[in-house]
Symmetry: C2
Subunit: 148 residues, 2 copies
């Protein structure tokens, strides 16, 4: 099975999305107006997207039980994501991660934002979301394109 070797999205869990968004804007970044919503801000960075999302919501949305994320014992507040082109690809990657010893934090399921995703924690508790998002087109090189 082909595994897309990339990180398409890094999400930072924050206390206050607007405050954090203003911080990154003050560093010269521009938020993606088409993709951002009151609850989440996206920045398009070349082939990578950075998202700012409430920390608690990020944990809940990913089905994270902090107690299971050894050895941190607490959620790091960072989630790395890989976007794939289909539900079947998401299922395959999660199965492959499970076979490699990852903890499946959330088996693949339909997301309330209209996509499909599964979440695993690697051997050190780092969280990866494997997702299919029909709203973020996937380029040939595996990168995502955010709506402007």
């Amino acid at each position: 099975m082909k595994f897309y070797s990339g990180v398409t999205l890094v999400t930072l869990g924050v206390e206050n999305v607007e405050r954090a968004s203003v911080f990154y804007e003050s560093l010269g970044w521009r938020r993606s107006k088409g993709a951002s919503q009151p609850a989440i801000t996206f920045f398009a960075l070349n082939t990578l997207a950075l998202a700012l999302f409430p920390r608690d919501a990020l944990a809940a949305d990913s089905g994270i039980d902090p107690g299971r994320l050894a050895p941190l014992g607490t959620f790091s507040g960072v989630a790395l994501a890989q976007n794939h082109g289909s539900r079947a690809a998401v299922n395959s990657v999660i199965a492959q991660a499970r076979a490699a010893g990852a903890t499946i934090v959330q088996p693949p399921r339909d997301a309330d934002w209209g996509g499909y995703h599964g979440v695993f924690a690697d051997l050190d508790g780092h969280v990866w979301e494997i997702c299919f998002n029909p709203f973020f087109p996937l380029a040939a090189d595996g990168s995502v394109t955010l709506p402007l």
Copy 2:
């Protein structure tokens, strides 16, 4: 001042670099043999590099005092990095982050690996390393190229 809007490197702090490297290889990734060393593994992912490095060394190398990284209270174990083309650019970005309210975890200084870097924590304790690495060439689009 121009701020390079990108993430060039994501470093995951791990307990055992070899164990973690084998995990990611089992997902189909290939480690960069030219860049990797016994203490650190690099994977080249399109325009982004992922590194696996001992968690304690990552904290020490970044000058991190976990108690100062509110609200986490502990180091997340993840460091995002931006590579820049000069020492002066590193100084500028750190100054800009300080002005925007970031905690300067480590003022810019020469690194023992031959480069120059400074570290800040954003308003939520997320760690960014701003560095000049003469061994990782910087492309026109701001991405880094790892030695094969």
